[in-house]
């Protein structure tokens, strides 16, 4: 088994293609804290961290709690000349509930609340079994792929900057009181930043693949794990 070469140019076993420039790299197990970069374009291929799965799960839960809080607590309040107006996040989205702008209500709600919550949920769904060393749930790969696809569309941090701009515009007109939902969104920025820096997609994909296959006859932590991968893993039927 160890006489077998660690990669196979016919089936792609043991190889990684840089998603950004297609350069082929050998798959190797890495120690936590190491960073693998593409030799051609410098794209980060893998950046595993010790205990990253647990941290990512915790951050995903934090983000869910903050978002749910943000939905129910007041967001901003203005008052001037005795006229006051408090708005929640729903009011912000419903500002577009008028004629042709109606689709924008759904879009705004999705971008600031729906997608961030959905992404946290997908991430927890994918990572909880992996962190416990159990086989992943059904469709875990699809769930994680969707979570990554939706990433650019969840715009909580952009919304916070938008709020700041709006506040400066309103400041001359009325006095503004910031509600708990606003601070929840500010905290969300930092949660997202942390989650982003702990996230190593390659490690998650490898973990899904390795724990999903019961054919493993090797120690998952063994150093040349990829070299001993059974050839049928690269077989189209095996992973489907």
């Amino acid at each position: 088994m160890s006489a077998e070469p660690s990669y196979d140019l016919a089936t792609g076993r043991g190889l990684i293609a840089c998603p950004s420039c297609d350069a082929l790299h050998l798959r190797e197990d890495m120690a936590p804290g190491e960073t693998a970069r593409c030799i051609r374009c410098g794209h980060v291929l893998a950046k595993p961290r010790e205990g990253a799965f647990g941290q990512l799960i915790a951050l995903a839960f934090t983000s869910m709690v903050l978002l749910i809080g943000a939905v129910f607590f007041p967001f901003l309040e203005v008052s001037t000349f005795g006229f006051g107006n408090a708005s929640s996040l729903f009011d912000v989205a419903l500002a577009f509930a008028d004629g042709v702008l109606l689709p924008l209500v759904v879009a705004v709600l999705a971008m600031i609340i729906g997608l961030p919550i959905a992404r946290s949920f997908l991430l927890v769904y994918t990572l909880v079994p992996l962190a416990q060393g159990r086989p992943p749930h059904r469709h875990a790969a699809t769930a994680f792929r969707w979570s990554e696809t939706l990433r650019p569309w969840s715009m909580a941090e952009i919304f916070v900057i938008g709020t700041a701009v709006a506040l400066v515009k309103v400041a001359g007109l009325a006095s503004v009181h910031l509600g708990p939902a606003f601070w929840a969104f500010c905290a969300l920025i930092f949660v997202n930043l942390a989650s982003r820096s702990f996230m190593c997609r390659t490690s998650i994909w490898d973990a899904i693949e390795q724990s999903g296959q019961s054919v493993d006859d090797r120690d998952p932590a063994g150093p040349p794990a990829e070299a001993q991968r059974p050839a049928n893993l690269a077989d189209p039927q095996a992973g489907a």
């Binding site: 082929l24 790299h25 912000v92 500002a95 042709v100 919304f159 709006a166 515009k169 309103v170 994909w205």
Partner: protein, 229 residues
């Protein structure tokens, strides 16, 4: 991952090796596979034909950007219309902000809703034109940098839509002032979304396909039907 399958200076790509790399998870498969068996994503060869999607979304984004500038972004009514009703387009809003003396916000709005979208249109069009054309390594790195900037910055244009939403929800002060969103908000949001899709459909691997070595026609002929070399 530091080890490389071919130590010579031309980098061996999955495409040239007769394989296909998954852009979603990096796993490598034989070239005739249609879907990645690890993550389920569609496997697409690095092919200039994929640029059609880039152009299509880009043109859609450009078309949506026209009404976004012509129609008002929001209308403000102060003192029940006695102190005036004003309808501000994107550019009008910037000019108004300068009048108020809030230069910093004016600059943010100007950059976010005019400089960035226009720059994005130009950058994506340029990338789609030069993708796959012969280039040296330095040029390829420049193109990659441009692509990364465009991809990173694209979603930030949505800031304008959020500002309009927040202002309209917040400034409902009856007699004193009220703000209503205008039709430009929706077309601006569409324009941003279309350009994001355009940038996402651009295949960054094409940037590296034109690097100097003439073997690319032999490697390319396996999948990409017409090849001009």
């Amino acid at each position: 991952m530091s080890a490389q399958t071919e130590p010579q200076s031309p980098v061996l790509t999955a495409h040239r090796a007769g394989l296909i790399g998954c852009r979603s998870c990096g796993r490598v498969w034989p070239q005739d596979e249609a879907h990645c068996h690890r993550c389920g994503a569609e496997l697409v060869p690095p092919d200039r034909r994929g640029l059609q999607a880039v152009w299509a979304w880009l043109i859609a984004g450009l078309i949506a950007y026209i009404p976004a500038n012509v129609f008002p972004m929001m209308s403000t009514q102060t003192f029940a219309g006695l102190a005036g009703n004003s309808e501000a387009t994107i550019l009008g809003g910037v000019i108004e902000l300068i009048h108020y003396g809030s230069w910093d916000i004016a600059v943010i709005v100007f950059v976010a809703s005019i400089v960035v979208p226009v720059g994005k249109f130009i950058a994506i069009a340029w990338l789609a034109v030069v993708a796959g054309r012969p280039a040296n390594v330095d040029q390829a790195h420049t193109r990659l940098k441009v692509y990364e900037v465009v991809e990173f910055i694209g979603r930030w244009s949505m800031i304008d839509v959020f500002v309009v939403a927040i202002l309209s929800a917040l400034v409902q002060l009856g007699f004193v002032a009220s703000i209503k969103p205008g039709p430009a908000a929706v077309s601006f949001a569409l324009s941003v979304a279309f350009t994001m899709l355009s940038a996402q459909s651009f295949d960054a691997r094409l940037i590296w396909r034109g690097l100097p070595l003439r073997s690319r026609s032999s490697a390319g002929s396996a999948t990409t039907g017409p090849n001009d070399e």
